[in-house]
């Protein structure tokens, strides 16, 4: 898998200036014999919104907790702005956290929750009042100061948790699945707002989540973690379009995997047809290529008799399932060699494709990406992905 590790930081704003906001060097955490985080190295640029994505148990929360100072690494180093903070207690770190369940202080009202960190830092009283009010306003909580923190809705609690962390203007803000407890509708608005706030305050965000949509929507960059390491890291679009591994490809969305063989430097499908695909992020020689991945929405369907636009890749398949979804439809096909294809198509024109029809499926040359043979690491089931709690 090491071959898949490739960092890419050039596309990020401000990444050029000085030391990284956060640098993890060979960070390892062992819990009673099992590796939660396995030799992880990572850099966060100042002011970037970095999403750490992965299924339950992949080590993303452990990574965040080590950064926050709630877990001691077994080995490795953590730098904050160039300074080694590996062994600095959490209360001395210029890092704040928005906890998964918010962990508001139930005995304090909203104002005091937000003021907590400032009071510990002995900030001037009048200054505290000003800063707290300012942040309550920033998060749309004006007038909530005297409310007991226990009498807030989930969304309000999350805003308080955010205000409580942001008011301290930390160098890095850690967010541990902060949307986990919110319903879908509030989640959407909060995402937009979170992005806005992050741009406004310019603080580096490390956002841990198992929700790929959220990670892609929010992150300037994202890393997909599995078994204590990341398998791919980069801008969301790049990682989506050219994932490094089958795991990353499937974790970020649906993906057709076409088995290929190498024939005189060319890739061929089992039916003998030629496939053109991008090397993707694979740094290996084509000899190792075993599959080509194509996203379902990148494929086009052409009924018999339709004019087929000249595209690099094509194959003939039989329709086995059609699912009408209003804006789009999903199709399942069986290929000549018995494989299955999954295609999503926008319902733009009337289509006359019926079950059993033989159709031509095409896709562009940049839409396919090389993948190595399926990894032998245990498959991640969908149930794992849904769980939001992480080991330990």
């Amino acid at each position: 898998m090491a071959a898949a590790h490739r960092e890419e930081g050039s596309s990020v704003r401000k990444s050029g200036e000085g030391a990284a906001a956060v640098r993890l060097e060979h960070l390892t955490k062992e819990f009673e014999g099992s590796l939660a985080v396995d030799d992880l190295s990572l850099e966060l640029a100042a002011g970037e919104f970095f999403a750490l994505l992965g299924p339950s148990g992949c080590g993303k929360t452990t990574t965040l907790r080590m950064l926050g100072g709630f877990e001691k690494p077994t080995s490795g180093k953590i730098y904050l702005g160039g300074e080694d903070i590996t062994w600095t207690p959490s209360y001395k770190r210029d890092i704040n956290t928005v906890f998964q369940s918010y962990a508001l202080f139930p005995h304090l009202n909203v104002f005091e929750n937000v003021a907590f960190g400032l009071r510990r830092k002995n900030v001037d009283k009048s200054e505290i009042g000003r800063l707290v009010e300012e942040h309550l306003e920033l998060l749309g909580l004006s007038g909530f100061g005297r409310r007991p923190s226990t009498q807030l809705s989930g969304g309000q609690q999350q805003r308080v948790a955010l205000a409580r962390a942001l008011v301290n203007r930390p160098r890095v803000l850690l967010l541990d699945e902060p949307m986990g407890a919110l319903d879908a509708k509030i989640r959407k608005t909060m995402q937009v707002e979170l992005k806005r706030i992050q741009r406004e305050v310019g603080i580096t965000f490390l956002y841990v989540t198992h929700d790929q949509d959220e990670a892609m929507a929010l992150g300037d960059r994202l890393a997909v973690m599995r078994a204590g390491r990341y398998e791919d890291l980069g801008a969301p679009q790049r990682v989506y379009d050219q994932p490094a591994t089958q795991f990353v490809a499937e974790f970020l969305g649906a993906c057709n995997l076409l088995p290929v063989t190498l024939d005189h430097g060319e890739l061929r499908l089992p039916d003998g047809s030629l496939v053109v695909a991008r090397p993707g992020t694979m740094e290996s020689t084509p000899q190792l290529v075993a599959q080509v991945g194509v996203r379902p929405e990148k494929m086009s369907i052409h009924a018999e008799g339709d004019e087929v636009v000249s595209r690099s890749n094509r194959l003939v398949a039989t329709v086995t399932t059609i699912t009408y979804l209003g804006a789009s439809s999903e199709y399942e096909f069986e290929t000549a060699w018995g494989g299955h294809l999954h295609v999503v198509a926008q319902n733009i024109d009337d289509r006359h494709i019926r079950l059993g029809d033989r159709v031509t499926v095409t896709w562009g040359e940049t839409h396919g990406f090389w993948l190595p043979a399926p990894s032998d690491v245990a498959e991640v089931t969908s149930a794992d992905v849904i769980m939001d709690d992480e080991a330990p």
């Binding site: 926050g68 207690p89 704040n96």
Partner: protein, 305 residues
């Protein structure tokens, strides 16, 4: 009830309105009121009535509204009942404070510093003395603390105390016994309160620049207030009225109100005096607890539920 049913029958939507207007707070409070009446008001009032009776156990007692008994007891008695009340309050108060100081670290240790599989064993250890009768284990202390007992002789051998040093028979022994016998009643509610604190709240405090001391003072302590509150109620009430520790561990000058009530009732058969003393004790504890609850807030009681 019939008119209500008739009205509900007439207006279909009115049932819900009627229920929501009348039900939860009022009906539910009846249980509490019933409890109070049954276990507090009835004993208090019947105690008060008995205290106002005159007579003797042979001829019987009749209600003569003898309010005079209270002035007899507190002003004109050869027996200094007022002193006993004050003494009992001091013993109970000191024992309660000592209980907090000892029980809190114990509960804290069990709640936060011990691996989960040891917690039950340690809690059992806190309760283990309850497997022996209250009186017998108090009596055991009388042996341990005796002048020739292990504690005093050791202290004497080490020349830490003079030859005349006693433990048994002193107020300290009585308070010590009170603490020993009631410690679990302080440990358990505090433990329950601490156990309920989400560890992430402590992490949040650390995250927000609170060092260990500040984390304790600003989060753990306030969040366990309900447990301390409950412990104080349990320990204070039980120690102020306790006759056993002062009888077994006390001496000539540690006579408490609990002993006075017991002796008046059982030995002297002065039912009216015993009733007057226990009525006063109940009232006094009631007033103290009321003030205490007002100061430390009813939310503590709510948090216990």
């Amino acid at each position: 009830m019939t008119t209500i049913q008739a009205r509900i029958a007439k207006e279909p939507g009115s049932l819900r309105r009627w229920v929501s207007r009348h039900s939860p707070p009022y009906w539910l409070s009846l249980v509490g009121v019933g409890w109070m009446v049954l276990f507090f008001l009835i004993p208090l009032i019947s105690g008060l009535i008995v205290s106002l009776e005159t007579g003797n156990p042979v001829k019987g007692y009749t209600l003569t509204w003898n309010w005079h008994i209270y002035s007899q007891i507190f002003v004109h008695s050869d027996i200094p009942y007022t002193t006993f009340f004050i003494r009992s309050l001091i013993y109970g108060g000191s024992a309660t404070i000592l209980c907090i100081l000892i029980a809190y670290p114990m509960a804290y240790y069990i709640a936060f510093r011990v691996s989960p599989r040891w917690k039950n064993s340690l809690l059992l250890l806190v309760l283990i003395s309850f497997f022996i009768s209250f009186v017998i284990r108090t009596d055991m202390w009388a042996f341990v603390l005796a002048d020739q007992g292990i504690v005093v002789t050791t202290l004497r051998h080490l020349h830490l105390v003079s030859a005349n040093f006693h433990i048994l028979g002193t107020a300290g022994a009585v308070i010590g016994g009170d603490v020993y016998n009631n410690l679990a009643f302080m440990v358990l509610p505090i433990y329950v309160a601490l156990e309920r604190i989400d560890v992430r709240i402590l992490e949040a405090a650390r995250d927000l620049y609170a060092n260990s001391r500040q984390t304790f003072l600003k989060t753990v302590l306030p969040l366990s207030r309900a447990g301390i509150f409950a412990g104080v109620l349990l320990v204070f009430i039980s120690t102020v009225g306790d006759p056993v520790n002062s009888a077994l561990l006390g001496g000539a000058n540690t006579y408490t109100i609990g002993q006075a009530i017991q002796d008046a009732y059982l030995n002297n058969q002065q039912f009216n005096v015993a009733a007057a003393l226990s009525t006063m004790l109940m009232l006094m504890l009631g007033v103290i607890m009321f003030i205490y609850a007002r100061i430390f807030g009813t939310e503590n009681i709510e948090n216990l539920v």
